[in-house]
Amino acid sequence: MVSPSTFLYWLTLPRTFPAPDISFQADKLRNQQELDRLQAKFLGTGHPDTSSWEWTTNLQRDTYSSVVGHRPMLAYIAVAENEPISKVRAALIRKMVQPSGPPPGPDDDVDLPRERNA
């Protein structure tokens, strides 16, 4: 009774970390391909190496696209901000460009968990 998504995801899971051992290379290769496919389909999905910048970027983009996608929400914000709906919409879409700022440079320590809330 594995749901398709679970099954798919199960395939994508890397079995061992990290893999200095050569024997898991082929599995890793396949997992990597599966994960690539999953991410090609769902941009917002992540993996253990997703940086917090990537995650927050996706999170904000999802939020904006959700508001833009639900007409009543859009209308609500438009009324609150006293702006035409299309303007609000355009503004929201524009906000989706790098919502969390530019990607961190190579020397920034991105892999440290930065989130403080739960």
Partner: protein, 1213 residues
Amino acid sequence: MSDADFNVVIKRQQERNAAASGKKGSRAHDVTQRSDSTRQNLTDNADSDLYEKDEAEKFAGYHTSLPMADEDDDVAEDTTRRLVGQYTASREMIDEFARGDHVEEEDVLAGKGEKSGRIIDRETDYQKRRFDRVLTPTRADPFAANHQDSGPESGNTYREIMQSQELDREEERIRRAILAKKDGEHDADVEMRPALQGPDKGSEEGSTEVVTTERKRKQRWDVSSTPSESQADAGRGAAVPSKRSRWDETPSAGVGAAETQRSRWDQAPSATPMASQGLATPLPVSSIPVLPPTFGTDVGRSLGFISDEELDLLLPGEDQGYRILEFPPGFVQIRAPNHRVAAPPVPATGFMMQDPEQTRLGGQPMSAEISGVGDLQFLKPEDMNYFGKLNDGADETSMSVDELKERKIMKLLLKIKNGTPPMRKTALRQITDNARQFGAGPLFAQILPLLMEKTLEEQERHLLVKVIDRILYKLDDLVRPYVHKILVVIEPLLIDQDYYARVEGREIISNVAKAAGLATMISVMRPDIDNVDDYVRNTTARAFAVVASALSIPALLPFLRAVCGSKKSWHARHTGVKIVQQIAILMGCAVLPHLKGLVECISPNLNDDQTKVRTVTSLAIAALAEASNPYGIESFDEILNPLWTGARKQRGKGLAGFLKAVGYIIPLMDEEYANYYTTQIMEILLREFSSPDEEMKKVVLKVVSQCAATKGVSANYLKEHVLTDFFKNFWVRRMALDKRNYKQVVETTVDIGQKVGVSEILERVVDNLKDESEPYRKMTVETIEKIVTSLGAADIDERLEERLIDGVLYAFQEQTVEEIVILNGFGSVVNALGDRCAPFLPQITSTILWRLNNKSPTVRQQAADLISRIAMVMKQCGEDELMGKLGIVLYEYLGEEYPEVLGSILGALRSIVTVVGIAQMQPPIRDLLPRLTPILRNRHEKVQENTIDLVGRIADRGPESVNAREWMRICFELLDMLKAHKKGIRRAANNTFGFIAKAIGPQDVLATLLSNLRVQERQSRVNTAVAIGIVAETCAPFTVLPALMNEYRVPELNVQNGVLKALSFLFEYIGEMGKDYVYAVTPLLEDALIDRDQVHRQTAAAVVKHIALGVVGLGCEDAMVHLLNLLYPNLFETSPHVIDRIIEAIEAIRMAVGPGLVLNYIWAGLFHPARKVRTPYWRLYNDAYIQGADSMVPYYPNLDENTVERTELAIML
């Protein structure tokens, strides 16, 4: 049917039963049928619970059979007081004679039959021609990014290859010319031979290279670098003087000739195979270039050449009037290094007998294993040719890097090819990961010759092909120089019989194409397009089609256009068109966007000078039209005219191709055009109706059925112009004898029938039902069946109806072999006629009854099958009484001994019960059911399936007709059925449990099922759990749940697990009803979820999942959160089954309580420092995201960074 008839049948039947019971004893150990103890004897007591069966006890304590050979207690010890020892043969000897161990096991042909895995054993001669191909030398890579690196010496360039192709063709032409001449004038002289032939032959024969066997094109006669060259030159050196001696030389030259002669018998053995191998053209003996005899002592002397001094000694000098001529100006004598002349012969590239001694001739004895590899699954003698090097015991520390690499690759390949699965896996990984370090050259140098090995087995080929596939990914554009070699070994896969081999081949070629790029592919395959060998051309065409599908058709189209328009050789045009045909076959409707381009590309070839090209063009058009059906007629517009006019001009095979193309194009046309073009072509079709050629017949039939199927062709037209000729030519007995003709005729007739109607066809064929030829009758019945099933019998008039039934009955009765076709035909006709059958039913029934009583089991089976087919019609005709009689007769036959027949009889009974209903059933259900109970024990699948079906139907419709006790007995029998192999049987058994529980109340059934949870067999327990779930569903959960939960208290793992499993099924089946029971089972689940046993928790998680999914939106959130808290610590389980169930349960709870709450559990671990923690958390996150990214938006955490502000969500109005 009269009562008298009926009584006769009954009487015979009783006789038969009596006879059967008389010989019952002899059948006691017949394994195919039920043993006597399970067969219900009518005179016995049915109830063995009350009255115990005495015959079981009767022989207690006796040996029931004589001991068989394996028990040798009687030879063990001699306890008698004999004075003389008793000697007998040893056990081994007895066994040997009994089983013939040594005779049968050492069968030399044992491995060569169909079961042998060797590919070569199942190949056709055509496919075996792959061995004629040789691995070509590495090619230069003109497209390499760093051109300087791959210098000119790295391989043959395109120009060189094309030149050598030219040479090959010329050679082929000359060879043909010679052959033709030989055939013409047998006294053709040796002197007529072109001078090029001799040395060139020599070069072809003596190809020598250690790793890659050379293709002949490499031995270009003007390059002296290859080893074989020297031999060729040596040959020439020997041949030239001897030839000269024939006509313009002094007799002293006879010395040379004498040497030639002498060499025939005292030549060094190594030279003999060299000179005679692979000599395709039979040439006169003297023309074979041979080496002069060599002796080891004469080292300083150059082989094959005679010095000037020697010549002076041998030939008459100037003093005798002769003169030594100068070399003509510009003549350069070719000198080849002579040390290569005696190079050892290499296995030929053509066919070669495998000599088992040969491998041993190397001096080294065969060793059973290869050092440094470990235990292999097997090692063939042939493998030693390739891998023997590993055994030489050389010191690895003193080797160069290249040698070490080579050995490493060799080891890995051997492990992959012959190793055990785990060995194979690691070796495959290593070779893949290090592919770039090893380099393409060394890898392919070893893999490809292995693939050319003649004793290769399928498994080995599959593995080696897999290696190529893997390393292709890694090597990428490094493969370019090896593309042709790869193609040589992979192309044969494209024409393999095995579908999977073909797919594998396609995949490799398309990967090669993607890695090497279009330009390389074209430049590599271009020379093969007009190769002299049609095998090469054919496989190349297929490979090109694969390349086209990998790199898109438009990219290849300009090239195809050029090839199809080639002026130089018709071979190229032929191959070009063939590529288009293969593209259509391979890609199907994906050709549509490029259809116009493809058709334009091949359309000029319809009028080619060569018949073969014209034929293949028409076939390609047919393939394109078939692939693009029903679209794309506009692309074919411009070829319609040439095609139709061409069809008039062609004869024979060419015509067949044209007609085929026409047949596939007509269905694409709109009505008007289809009508016009059909009339245009019909004339030719009608003419070809009488063609004696089988191929033509098939094509004509196909075209007729295609024309008939189009809208534009009217029924009237067919009736007036086609039908008469069609039936005259194709409805003849001869057509029924050949299987393919038979099928095609039936198909075409049915297609025509769709247009012209049932009666038109039936009128013509119905008399054939009484024909004396059985295949012909069969063909007729099949046609009638197909037509009547699809069109019904509405327009069959009364007279025809009579003839039809009469004929079908005749055909049915006259079968010598019982055919399913006839049975189906009978069934369809009767069902189509419906209540119009009424007058014939008595006759049909009496036939059935007689046949039910037949001696042959297949006849009985068929008769019973017929009953189940026509039961519905009998009901429609109101023949209830007749059915009652049939029922009784069938009931009497329940003692049937052949399981197949018994199954059919049960099926017939079932269909009667279905149509007449439980109440009216004859014999009454209360008699029938007890009779079925013992049959339930029968192990035969067909019997089981039909019995359970019948019993289930009775339990469903009329459970009251049998008492509860009988039902309980059936329940016990059903438990056994839960382990049946066939899913249908298990499902039917489970459903029957439900029906029975409904009929007699769940308590007793449940008790039975619960006790069955204790059995060992997993399958049985699982099915019991399912049955409990079903019972709960049919009798409301509250009747089952208390008992089930009580059972959980049994401190036994299997039982508790079974209970959990049953709960899981139960909640799955009852769905929303589960909300009333959630709080009741929560304590039980608490216990299960914190159990130490993994499987326990896993099953409990499955229960939670089903409960949660059932109560979505029904207000059990508190219980769900409670269960979630218990589930969550299991998140770090690693066993795949357990973790899957846990994740599913958490997901289900997310559905029930909403994502917000569950996500709060997830945020904690997404960025945990430990990767082992992050991994499952991200998995949960991704699942949530995939299922409801939108609903997660409000629940994302508020991160107090200024970059992560979602101020829009804070707006309040």
